[in-house]
Protein backbone atom coordinates (compact mmCIF):
# COMPACT_ATOMS: atom_id res chain seq x y z
CA UNK A 1 0.00 0.00 0.00
CA UNK A 2 1.21 3.51 -0.84
CA UNK A 3 2.17 6.20 1.66
CA UNK A 4 -0.80 8.24 0.48
CA UNK A 5 -3.12 5.41 1.37
CA UNK A 6 -1.76 5.21 4.90
CA UNK A 7 -1.98 8.98 5.32
CA UNK A 8 -5.66 8.75 4.40
CA UNK A 9 -6.31 5.86 6.79
CA UNK A 10 -4.46 7.55 9.68
CA UNK A 11 -6.20 10.87 8.91
CA UNK A 12 -9.55 9.07 8.98
CA UNK A 13 -8.80 7.44 12.33
CA UNK A 14 -7.59 10.75 13.79
CA UNK A 15 -10.74 12.47 12.55
CA UNK A 16 -13.01 9.80 13.99
CA UNK A 17 -11.24 10.14 17.33
CA UNK A 18 -12.13 13.85 17.40
CA UNK A 19 -15.75 13.04 16.57
CA UNK A 20 -16.18 10.41 19.26
CA UNK A 21 -13.53 11.67 21.71
CA UNK A 22 -15.45 14.62 23.12
CA UNK A 23 -18.27 12.31 24.11
CA UNK A 24 -15.93 9.69 25.58
CA UNK A 25 -13.60 12.07 27.43
CA UNK A 26 -14.93 15.55 27.99
CA UNK A 27 -18.45 14.52 28.96
CA UNK A 28 -16.95 12.70 31.98
CA UNK A 29 -15.92 16.03 33.47
CA UNK A 30 -18.46 18.38 34.95
CA UNK A 31 -16.62 21.50 33.81
CA UNK A 32 -13.86 22.36 31.37
CA UNK A 33 -11.16 24.64 32.74
CA UNK A 34 -11.67 28.14 31.23
CA UNK A 35 -8.10 28.26 29.92
CA UNK A 36 -8.50 24.90 28.19
CA UNK A 37 -11.77 26.08 26.70
CA UNK A 38 -10.12 29.32 25.52
CA UNK A 39 -7.35 27.29 23.93
CA UNK A 40 -9.83 24.96 22.20
CA UNK A 41 -11.77 27.95 20.91
CA UNK A 42 -8.61 29.37 19.38
CA UNK A 43 -7.65 26.16 17.53
CA UNK A 44 -9.47 26.67 14.19
CA UNK A 45 -8.39 30.29 13.65
CA UNK A 46 -4.83 29.54 14.77
CA UNK A 47 -4.39 26.53 12.47
CA UNK A 48 -6.08 28.06 9.43
CA UNK A 49 -4.14 31.33 9.71
CA UNK A 50 -0.85 29.49 9.35
CA UNK A 51 -2.04 28.16 5.99
CA UNK A 52 -2.68 31.67 4.64
CA UNK A 53 -0.01 33.92 6.20
CA UNK A 54 3.14 32.47 4.55
CA UNK A 55 1.42 32.63 1.15
CA UNK A 56 1.49 36.43 1.52
CA UNK A 57 5.29 36.35 1.19
CA UNK A 58 5.08 35.06 -2.39
CA UNK A 59 1.82 36.76 -3.38
CA UNK A 60 1.81 39.06 -6.40
CA UNK A 61 -0.76 41.73 -7.34
CA UNK A 62 -3.33 39.17 -8.54
CA UNK A 63 -3.13 37.20 -5.28
CA UNK A 64 -3.29 40.31 -3.11
CA UNK A 65 -6.30 41.62 -5.04
CA UNK A 66 -8.07 38.28 -4.54
CA UNK A 67 -7.38 38.20 -0.78
CA UNK A 68 -8.47 41.81 -0.28
CA UNK A 69 -11.73 41.22 -2.15
CA UNK A 70 -12.29 38.02 -0.13
CA UNK A 71 -11.87 39.97 3.11
CA UNK A 72 -14.20 42.77 1.98
CA UNK A 73 -16.92 40.35 0.85
CA UNK A 74 -16.63 38.52 4.19
CA UNK A 75 -18.09 41.56 5.94
CA UNK A 76 -21.40 40.85 4.24
CA UNK A 77 -21.51 37.46 2.56
CA UNK A 78 -21.14 33.84 3.60
CA UNK A 79 -18.25 31.50 2.89
CA UNK A 80 -19.43 30.66 -0.61
CA UNK A 81 -19.85 34.31 -1.68
CA UNK A 82 -16.43 35.14 -0.27
CA UNK A 83 -14.76 32.26 -2.01
CA UNK A 84 -16.38 32.87 -5.40
CA UNK A 85 -15.58 36.61 -5.31
CA UNK A 86 -11.95 35.97 -4.39
CA UNK A 87 -11.57 33.24 -7.00
CA UNK A 88 -13.17 35.39 -9.74
CA UNK A 89 -10.82 38.31 -9.00
CA UNK A 90 -7.82 35.97 -9.00
CA UNK A 91 -8.69 34.37 -12.33
CA UNK A 92 -9.35 37.72 -14.03
CA UNK A 93 -6.25 39.37 -12.56
CA UNK A 94 -4.03 36.43 -13.57
CA UNK A 95 -4.98 36.98 -17.21
CA UNK A 96 -3.32 40.41 -17.02
CA UNK A 97 -0.42 40.08 -14.60
CA UNK A 98 0.22 36.33 -14.88
Amino acid sequence: MSTTFWIIIAGAVATYLTRIGGHLVISRFDTIHPRVEAGLNAVPAAVLTTLVAPELLNAGPAEWAALVVTAVVSLRGGLMAMFLAGAAVLIVARQFVG
Binding site: T3, T4, F5, W6, I7, I8, I9, A10, G11, A12, A14, T15, Y16, T18, R19, I20, G21, G22, H23, L24, I26, S27, P34, R35, E37, A38, G39, L40, N41, A42, V43, P44, A45, A46, V47, L48, T49, T50, L51, V52, A53, P54, E55, L56, L57, A62, E63, A66, L67, T70, S74, L79, M80, M82, F83, G86, A87, L90, I91, R94
Partner: protein, 242 residues
Protein backbone atom coordinates in the same frame (compact mmCIF):
# COMPACT_ATOMS: atom_id res chain seq x y z
CA UNK B 1 -48.50 -4.79 16.16
CA UNK B 2 -50.32 -1.53 15.56
CA UNK B 3 -47.67 0.39 17.49
CA UNK B 4 -44.97 -1.24 15.36
CA UNK B 5 -46.58 0.10 12.21
CA UNK B 6 -46.96 3.54 13.72
CA UNK B 7 -43.35 3.77 14.93
CA UNK B 8 -42.05 2.46 11.60
CA UNK B 9 -43.96 5.03 9.57
CA UNK B 10 -42.92 7.62 12.17
CA UNK B 11 -39.28 6.75 11.60
CA UNK B 12 -39.81 6.95 7.85
CA UNK B 13 -41.30 10.42 8.00
CA UNK B 14 -38.58 11.47 10.46
CA UNK B 15 -35.99 10.29 7.96
CA UNK B 16 -37.52 12.32 5.14
CA UNK B 17 -37.86 15.35 7.37
CA UNK B 18 -34.10 15.08 7.96
CA UNK B 19 -33.48 14.70 4.22
CA UNK B 20 -35.37 17.95 3.56
CA UNK B 21 -33.19 19.78 6.07
CA UNK B 22 -30.06 18.31 4.47
CA UNK B 23 -30.70 19.88 1.06
CA UNK B 24 -29.18 23.34 1.74
CA UNK B 25 -26.08 21.62 3.12
CA UNK B 26 -25.85 19.37 0.06
CA UNK B 27 -26.03 22.40 -2.25
CA UNK B 28 -23.58 24.51 -0.24
CA UNK B 29 -20.96 21.78 0.07
CA UNK B 30 -21.11 20.64 -3.59
CA UNK B 31 -18.61 23.21 -4.96
CA UNK B 32 -16.16 22.38 -2.19
CA UNK B 33 -16.41 18.65 -2.89
CA UNK B 34 -15.68 19.22 -6.58
CA UNK B 35 -12.91 21.67 -5.68
CA UNK B 36 -11.40 19.17 -3.26
CA UNK B 37 -11.30 16.48 -5.94
CA UNK B 38 -9.72 18.81 -8.50
CA UNK B 39 -7.12 20.12 -6.03
CA UNK B 40 -6.34 16.63 -4.77
CA UNK B 41 -5.21 15.43 -8.20
CA UNK B 42 -3.38 18.77 -8.70
CA UNK B 43 -1.43 17.97 -5.50
CA UNK B 44 -0.54 14.44 -6.56
CA UNK B 45 -3.48 12.31 -5.45
CA UNK B 46 -5.05 9.72 -7.73
CA UNK B 47 -8.81 9.77 -8.36
CA UNK B 48 -9.21 6.70 -6.13
CA UNK B 49 -7.24 8.35 -3.31
CA UNK B 50 -9.34 11.52 -3.52
CA UNK B 51 -12.47 9.35 -3.38
CA UNK B 52 -11.14 7.37 -0.40
CA UNK B 53 -10.18 10.47 1.53
CA UNK B 54 -13.66 11.95 1.13
CA UNK B 55 -15.30 8.64 2.06
CA UNK B 56 -13.14 7.96 5.14
CA UNK B 57 -12.17 11.37 6.54
CA UNK B 58 -15.33 13.25 5.49
CA UNK B 59 -14.23 16.67 6.72
CA UNK B 60 -13.89 19.38 4.06
CA UNK B 61 -11.44 21.82 5.64
CA UNK B 62 -9.18 19.07 6.99
CA UNK B 63 -9.10 17.34 3.59
CA UNK B 64 -8.06 20.62 1.97
CA UNK B 65 -5.33 21.07 4.56
CA UNK B 66 -4.20 17.49 4.05
CA UNK B 67 -3.77 17.75 0.29
CA UNK B 68 -2.13 21.19 0.57
CA UNK B 69 0.54 19.77 2.90
CA UNK B 70 0.81 16.61 0.79
CA UNK B 71 1.59 18.78 -2.23
CA UNK B 72 4.34 20.50 -0.21
CA UNK B 73 5.88 17.08 0.59
CA UNK B 74 5.38 17.50 4.29
CA UNK B 75 6.21 14.51 6.53
CA UNK B 76 3.24 12.08 6.67
CA UNK B 77 2.88 12.20 10.47
CA UNK B 78 2.62 15.97 10.32
CA UNK B 79 -0.10 15.77 7.66
CA UNK B 80 -2.07 13.42 9.91
CA UNK B 81 -1.46 15.69 12.91
CA UNK B 82 -2.67 18.70 10.92
CA UNK B 83 -5.84 16.86 9.89
CA UNK B 84 -6.33 16.05 13.55
CA UNK B 85 -5.73 19.69 14.54
CA UNK B 86 -8.17 21.10 12.01
CA UNK B 87 -10.80 18.57 13.06
CA UNK B 88 -10.18 19.07 16.75
CA UNK B 89 -13.25 21.30 17.07
CA UNK B 90 -15.36 18.14 16.65
CA UNK B 91 -14.37 17.18 20.18
CA UNK B 92 -16.63 19.95 21.38
CA UNK B 93 -19.48 18.94 19.05
CA UNK B 94 -19.07 15.39 20.25
CA UNK B 95 -19.21 16.42 23.90
CA UNK B 96 -22.29 18.52 23.16
CA UNK B 97 -24.28 16.03 21.08
CA UNK B 98 -23.48 13.03 23.28
CA UNK B 99 -26.31 13.65 25.72
CA UNK B 100 -28.80 14.04 22.82
CA UNK B 101 -28.12 10.63 21.28
CA UNK B 102 -27.24 8.62 24.37
CA UNK B 103 -30.52 6.67 24.02
CA UNK B 104 -29.51 5.15 20.65
CA UNK B 105 -28.03 1.64 20.30
CA UNK B 106 -24.20 1.76 20.48
CA UNK B 107 -23.73 0.88 16.79
CA UNK B 108 -26.07 3.72 15.78
CA UNK B 109 -24.15 6.10 18.02
CA UNK B 110 -20.84 4.98 16.47
CA UNK B 111 -22.24 5.75 13.01
CA UNK B 112 -23.76 8.99 14.23
CA UNK B 113 -20.38 10.27 15.39
CA UNK B 114 -18.81 9.35 12.06
CA UNK B 115 -21.04 11.83 10.19
CA UNK B 116 -20.81 14.54 12.86
CA UNK B 117 -19.87 17.55 10.71
CA UNK B 118 -20.30 21.28 11.44
CA UNK B 119 -23.81 21.57 9.89
CA UNK B 120 -24.85 18.17 11.28
CA UNK B 121 -24.03 19.38 14.77
CA UNK B 122 -25.63 22.79 14.25
CA UNK B 123 -28.95 21.42 12.93
CA UNK B 124 -29.17 18.54 15.41
CA UNK B 125 -28.35 20.79 18.35
CA UNK B 126 -30.98 23.29 17.22
CA UNK B 127 -33.58 20.50 17.11
CA UNK B 128 -32.62 19.30 20.57
CA UNK B 129 -32.82 22.81 21.98
CA UNK B 130 -36.31 23.26 20.55
CA UNK B 131 -37.35 20.36 22.77
CA UNK B 132 -37.64 17.67 20.07
CA UNK B 133 -35.98 14.28 20.26
CA UNK B 134 -32.97 13.70 18.04
CA UNK B 135 -33.87 10.28 16.67
CA UNK B 136 -31.55 8.07 14.64
CA UNK B 137 -33.79 8.06 11.54
CA UNK B 138 -34.02 11.85 11.51
CA UNK B 139 -30.28 12.25 12.14
CA UNK B 140 -29.45 9.80 9.36
CA UNK B 141 -31.82 11.58 6.98
CA UNK B 142 -29.98 14.80 7.72
CA UNK B 143 -26.49 13.35 7.33
CA UNK B 144 -26.66 10.60 4.71
CA UNK B 145 -27.44 12.75 1.62
CA UNK B 146 -24.63 15.16 2.53
CA UNK B 147 -22.20 12.24 2.82
CA UNK B 148 -23.24 10.49 -0.39
CA UNK B 149 -23.11 13.66 -2.49
CA UNK B 150 -19.81 14.71 -0.90
CA UNK B 151 -18.11 11.46 -1.87
CA UNK B 152 -19.54 11.31 -5.41
CA UNK B 153 -18.77 14.97 -6.16
CA UNK B 154 -15.21 14.59 -4.85
CA UNK B 155 -14.60 11.76 -7.30
CA UNK B 156 -16.16 13.78 -10.14
CA UNK B 157 -13.96 16.74 -9.21
CA UNK B 158 -10.89 14.53 -9.28
CA UNK B 159 -11.76 13.19 -12.76
CA UNK B 160 -12.47 16.73 -13.93
CA UNK B 161 -9.25 18.03 -12.33
CA UNK B 162 -7.20 15.72 -14.51
CA UNK B 163 -8.67 17.43 -17.59
CA UNK B 164 -7.66 20.98 -16.63
CA UNK B 165 -4.68 21.87 -18.85
CA UNK B 166 -3.41 25.14 -17.29
CA UNK B 167 -4.07 25.19 -13.57
CA UNK B 168 -2.15 28.44 -13.07
CA UNK B 169 -4.35 30.52 -15.41
CA UNK B 170 -7.43 29.21 -13.60
CA UNK B 171 -5.88 30.08 -10.27
CA UNK B 172 -6.22 26.52 -8.96
CA UNK B 173 -2.95 26.76 -7.03
CA UNK B 174 -4.14 29.78 -5.02
CA UNK B 175 -7.76 28.76 -4.40
CA UNK B 176 -6.92 27.09 -1.10
CA UNK B 177 -5.41 30.19 0.55
CA UNK B 178 -8.55 32.10 -0.49
CA UNK B 179 -10.74 29.34 0.93
CA UNK B 180 -8.77 29.24 4.18
CA UNK B 181 -8.87 33.02 4.51
CA UNK B 182 -12.65 32.77 4.17
CA UNK B 183 -12.75 30.16 6.97
CA UNK B 184 -10.49 32.28 9.21
CA UNK B 185 -12.72 35.32 8.69
CA UNK B 186 -15.77 33.20 9.45
CA UNK B 187 -14.50 32.79 13.03
CA UNK B 188 -14.03 36.54 13.53
CA UNK B 189 -16.82 36.89 16.11
CA UNK B 190 -15.04 34.57 18.52
CA UNK B 191 -13.37 36.12 21.56
CA UNK B 192 -9.65 36.83 21.07
CA UNK B 193 -9.97 36.20 17.33
CA UNK B 194 -7.75 39.08 16.19
CA UNK B 195 -4.93 38.55 18.74
CA UNK B 196 -4.90 34.82 17.93
CA UNK B 197 -4.80 35.46 14.17
CA UNK B 198 -2.01 38.03 14.54
CA UNK B 199 0.04 35.75 16.79
CA UNK B 200 -0.40 32.75 14.48
CA UNK B 201 0.31 34.78 11.36
CA UNK B 202 3.46 36.36 12.78
CA UNK B 203 4.78 33.10 14.25
CA UNK B 204 4.05 31.11 11.09
CA UNK B 205 5.78 33.67 8.84
CA UNK B 206 8.85 33.82 11.09
CA UNK B 207 8.94 30.02 11.29
CA UNK B 208 8.48 29.72 7.53
CA UNK B 209 11.51 32.00 7.02
CA UNK B 210 13.72 30.36 9.65
CA UNK B 211 12.81 26.75 10.42
CA UNK B 212 11.05 26.31 7.09
CA UNK B 213 7.95 24.53 5.83
CA UNK B 214 6.11 22.48 7.10
CA UNK B 215 6.98 23.42 10.68
CA UNK B 216 5.44 26.86 10.27
CA UNK B 217 2.00 25.24 10.52
CA UNK B 218 2.54 23.66 13.93
CA UNK B 219 4.59 26.55 15.33
CA UNK B 220 2.11 29.18 14.17
CA UNK B 221 -0.86 27.22 15.48
CA UNK B 222 0.78 26.62 18.86
CA UNK B 223 1.58 30.36 19.16
CA UNK B 224 -2.08 31.31 18.64
CA UNK B 225 -3.46 28.65 20.98
CA UNK B 226 -0.88 29.46 23.68
CA UNK B 227 -1.83 33.13 23.54
CA UNK B 228 -5.47 32.21 24.17
CA UNK B 229 -4.49 29.91 27.05
CA UNK B 230 -2.09 32.38 28.68
CA UNK B 231 -4.27 35.48 28.59
CA UNK B 232 -6.46 35.78 31.69
CA UNK B 233 -9.68 33.83 31.11
CA UNK B 234 -11.90 36.90 31.30
CA UNK B 235 -10.38 38.07 27.98
CA UNK B 236 -11.57 34.93 26.29
CA UNK B 237 -14.62 34.48 28.48
CA UNK B 238 -17.29 32.64 26.58
CA UNK B 239 -19.95 35.04 27.79
CA UNK B 240 -17.83 38.13 28.26
CA UNK B 241 -18.48 39.76 24.90
CA UNK B 242 -21.69 41.66 24.24
Amino acid sequence: MATDVISESGAKSDFWQGVRLSMPVVVASAPFAVLFGALAVDNGFSVLEAFLMSALVYGGASQMVGIQLFGQHVAPWLIVLSIFAVNFRHVLYSAGIGRRIAHWPVISQALGYFILTDPQFAVAEARAQSGQTVGFAWYLGLGLPVYVFWVIESALGAVFGKLIPDTHALGIDFLLPIYFLGLVLGFRKRPLWLPVVIASAAASIVAYKTVGSPWHVSIGAIAGVLLAVILPPHHSGVKARP
